[in-house]
Amino acid sequence: MSAEFILGHYNYWVVIVLMMAGLYVVVSRGNLVKKIIGLNIFQTSVFLLYISMGKVRGGTAPIEIEGTGVIYSNPLPHVLILTAIVVGVATTAVGLAIIVRIREAYGTIEEDEILKIDHILDFGEGAQD
Amino acid sequence: MIIWTPELALVLSLIIPLLGSGLIVLADKSPNRREFVTLATAVLLFLDILYLLVAVVAGARPSFEVLEVIPPLAVAFQIEPLGMLFAVVASGLWIVNSIYSIGYMRGTNEPHQTRFYVCFAVAIGSAIAIAFAANMFTLFIFYEVLTLSTYPLVIHKGTEAARKGGRVYLGILLGTSIGFLLIAVIWTWFVAGTLDFTPGGILAGKVDEALVPLLLALYVFGIGKAALMPFHRWLPAAMVAPTPVSALLHAGAVVKAGVFAVLKVVVYIFGIDYLSMTGASQWLIWVAAASILIASIIAITKDNLKARLAYSTVSQLSYVTLGAALATSMGVIGGGMQIAMHAMGKITLFMCAGSIYVATRKTEISDMAGLGRVMPWTFIAFLLGALSIIGLPPMGGAWSKFVLIAAAADTGDLIIIGVLMLSSLLNVGYLLPLVVRGFFTPVPAAALGSAATYAPGSAIKEAPLLCVLPPLATGIGCIILFFFAEPIYRFIESITSP
């Protein structure tokens, strides 16, 4: 684990930090909107993973230009990520829509309160467990 | 012009009960027509089986394959002597029992009679399919169909007690068949590459010798219908069913299917010689012997007549298992004879118990003092059946017991001879008291238990004719079987020396 190794792989460290941060938010925050944000952070880390892997050393943007011997970065990850971003946006949209409906039906978007209401529905009034 | 071949008769024997059940459903609205359909189906089936009997005695072994279910495992049928014997017993007794059922169901005004007759037809059909199964796969399929088709019969009365009895019935039978038998069958399939019933067995050299007793145990305990202790509880639990159900199914088709399957497994899957060579069934001799004695002792303690008869059945069934466990041809033949003799005897006893219920609504033996004087024919039939079970000449049961004792003497299992003798004594102890009490005990001063007194000339009289004739017929059948014992012996013997 030399300094060169750590610095040379900085993009992966960023990815890992974002991934863990996102997952942590999803798991630890009770507010549903915050969970969705956590999911977004998690998904962003994946985007960075893909894009950063596409960079070729000394490569330029993958837009064809005149001349021979030009090194381009790999365009495929960019394409993949565009798709993944769209998927992420769609997921966020559906998630937020469901959260709006939850707000209408439950009156709250805090997970623990929702669980409490669900529990009462499951087991009847007065079941305090 | 139909060419009447044994193969055709075989196919018909399977189709007739099925068609019959469909026709019974259609005849739901008219009880007389429905009863006629039942009887006609039973008679037609019996005639067909008789035709097959003649052919098989002459040496024919008709077979046919239906279809491959999981290739190459197929549903296939082939007749051999043991199966022929079982089929004759099942179909013959169906006629007798149908006549009896008509008397009983009408006498007690039971509801859901159509469901009753339909399930009966399907159950008998499954029993015939089991009898004629050519491989263990087919037998397993129809074994399960038999369990499912008899469940509605067991819970017929619809009371909480009936539901509980049904749960025990289904629980034990499905539990043993799925838990033990299925594994035994697939294990056999895996090591032997086939499940066809083959004289001499299919397992020789295929299984590690130390594992053969385990495989046998999985089979014998998996065949829960043979009521080998400790998986016998379903039999007394099933007594919540109306008596015709108990008579045919639990003295006839269901339990006989169980011990028949045990015999088939011993003869055609393991092979008698293989078993005796590996000694894998030694433990079974003792378990069966214990089952015989313990069940008889429990029978003595029961006051409810049907419960007593149920435990008697458990005990008598273990005779067959014992015969199979001795792993000699004489043991197997004795077991086969016991199937026929016990069926005839037990069905008599159960029908009498039902007749007593129809006429007097009594179920406890202690209530039945003096009843024999008012219901003489029923009690005479009971006496005949009892003597057969006890094993006294000139009743058929004497021969099956004799052959089993001879087989035990052959293998040097003298203790087993003692067990069989002791069992006869115990049979006396739990069967004869009813007869004695019925004929010789005076009528009690005050009415015991049920409402009616039975001084001569009172309301209680003999059971309806349709309930009296069948048990008398089967009682006399026990005597007839005594004289037919040798042909039966020779018939079964042919499987052990192909």
């Binding site: 999803v26 892997m53 959260i99 | 491959e68 049904g166 799925i178 838990g179 594994i183 697939i186």
Partner: protein, 497 residues
């Protein structure tokens, strides 16, 4: 015209439901939308059958989308492993669409009814796409299309019970994490091999041998897909999602989405990573096998104590997925045959069962176990279908459940681990308990005084009984399904032996 179409059947399989989805939005009327969706789903089913016939005849079918040849272009690849899954998914889709009419009227709010159909068609298109594609990233995209639609479908149950919403959001979070893990795995594979085409990946990984990158990719993919197929203990989203979704939706997702996920798992574990991958053997025997065994057992026991029949069947489904994973973990032809055939058989079983429960929900307004009291008399056809499905679940002969169990136990013996047979058998016996609870209540008790219901309508009974009869037919004559399953197993294992 059909001669012109037939080389293009593969993309049409996905395109027809995909385009039908937005088109059905334009039909304002729920009935018109239903008819339109009906035509679309049944066409998809016909196409799937045609494709299966072609595959069984010719072997592998490959279609290059846009004319770009693989491995640079996206390829739709059909072999004996995924062609049957197409038939299952589209068949269930068609059956459910026929069945769904009444349920939708009863369970979804009026102004949302038209919207059910586009979302359903999108879910169907997504699942079909997952099955048919030969490109790993394309798989992810279709997986997400189907998942997002499914989240919406589950939430539509909110009209009856608002817990559908919390079920939907839990499902969304769990499913998204799963899909994202999956795409991370795909990314790592791309990093290692430079390709996204499944067959190409398989070749290159086989050449590469072991490497930490590939192992990491394997782990991410397994966990990602595991969440989708409710691999124990990643199953927590399933019971609520199945229970609170509208009945027709439950039938659909119970019979299809987890099956497709199992197929994806098999495809990746056996084709992409292949059995030469050393890490594989460890994972299969030390991870999948114990998880499958626990997954067969624990949910079955939990099912016994449920008071809601839908939830009972949901837990039962998790147990049945355990059966499939068990077959998978043997990694033999016999094991994969059992797993593949159970894919098909379970779809038939659970489809019939959930349809029966849906019919009861339609008439009684509830799926609590008490609602079933005495229905044996009032709704005879429905309860008979339930009994048939129940017998299949228990695995009694003459039903498809028996065929699956037989093959699974046979595979256990063949792999030398005969003690596993005991587990399989024990979980069947537990199934007897929870099935019989419902059956007893329906047939051996009488309906309460105030209950006055009639049998379910024909549009509900016909697809239900179609599935029931299929249950019996393929249980009695399993030649076709067994041979297809065996070919599927060979296709999965035999590519890079």
């Amino acid at each position: 015209m059909f001669a012109n179409l037939s080389p293009h059947l593969a993309p049409l399989q996905v395109v027809i439901p995909l385009i039908a989805a937005p088109l059905s939005l334009f039909l304002r009327n729920a009935t018109a939308a239903w008819l339109f969706a009906l035509v679309a789903t049944w066409s998809a089913f016909v196409i799937a059958c045609l494709l299966l016939v072609q595959v069984l005849d010719q072997g592998v079918l490959s279609y290059a989308l846009g004319g770009w040849p693989p491995p640079w272009g996206i390829e739709y690849r059909l072999d004996a492993a995924n062609a049957p899954v197409l038939v299952i998914v589209s068949g269930i889709g068609a059956a459910v669409m026929t069945y769904a009419r009444q349920g939708i009227l009863a369970e979804i709010e009026k102004h949302n009814q038209v919207l059910f159909f586009p979302v359903f068609l999108l879910a169907l298109a997504g699942l079909l796409g997952v099955t048919i594609t030969g490109d790993a990233f394309n798989l992810f995209v279709f997986l997400e299309i189907s998942s997002l639609s499914t989240y919406v479908l589950v939430s539509l149950g909110a009209n009856r019970d608002k817990r559908a919403l919390s079920a939907a959001i839990s499902y969304l979070i769990a499913g998204t994490i799963g899909a994202t893990f999956f795409v991370i795995g795909i990314g790592l594979l791309y990093m290692a091999t430079g390709t996204l085409n499944i067959m190409d990946l398989a070749m290159r990984i086989a050449d590469m041998g072991d490497s930490r990158l590939v192992r990491a990719a394997f782990a991410f993919i397994i966990v990602g897909i595991g969440l989708k197929l409710a691999l124990f203990p990643l199953h927590l989203w399933l019971p609520n999602a199945y229970t609170f979704a509208p009945s027709a939706v439950t039938v659909f997702i119970a019979a299809t989405s987890t099956k497709v996920a199992v197929y994806v798992l098999m495809r990746f574990v056996f084709t992409v990573f292949g059995t030469r991958f050393d890490f594989q053997e460890l994972t299969l025997s030390y991870l999948f096998l114990p998880l499958a065994l626990v997954g067969m057992f624990v949910p079955s026991i939990v099912a016994v104590f449920q008071t809601n029949v839908k939830r009972l069947l949901a837990y039962s489904s998790i147990a049945q997925i355990g059966y499939m994973l068990l077959g998978l973990s043997f990694a033999t032809i016999a094991g994969l045959t059992a797993a593949s055939i159970h894919l098909f058989n379970h779809a038939l079983m659970k489809g019939a069962l959930f349809m029966a429960v849906g019919a009861v929900a339609l008439r009684m307004g509830s799926t609590d176990i008490d609602a079933f009291t005495g229905l044996g008399r009032k709704m005879p056809w429905t309860m008979a279908a339930f009994v048939a499905g129940g017998l299949s679940l228990i695995g009694l002969p003459l039903t498809v459940g028996f065929v699956s169990k037989w093959l699974l136990i046979e595979a256990a013996f063949a792999s030398g681990q005969w003690w596993i047979a005991g587990f399989v058998v024990m979980s069947s016996l537990i199934a007897v308990i929870y099935v019989w609870r419902v059956v007893e209540l329906a047939y051996l008790h009488d309906t309460p005084e105030h209950v006055n219901v009639t049998e379910a309508p024909a549009s509900v009974l016909v697809p239900m009984w179609g599935l029931v009869l299929a249950n019996f037919y393929f249980g009695i004559n399993a030649q076709f399904t067994t041979s297809v399953a065996r070919r599927a197993a060979e296709a999965l294992l035999g590519v890079f032996p």
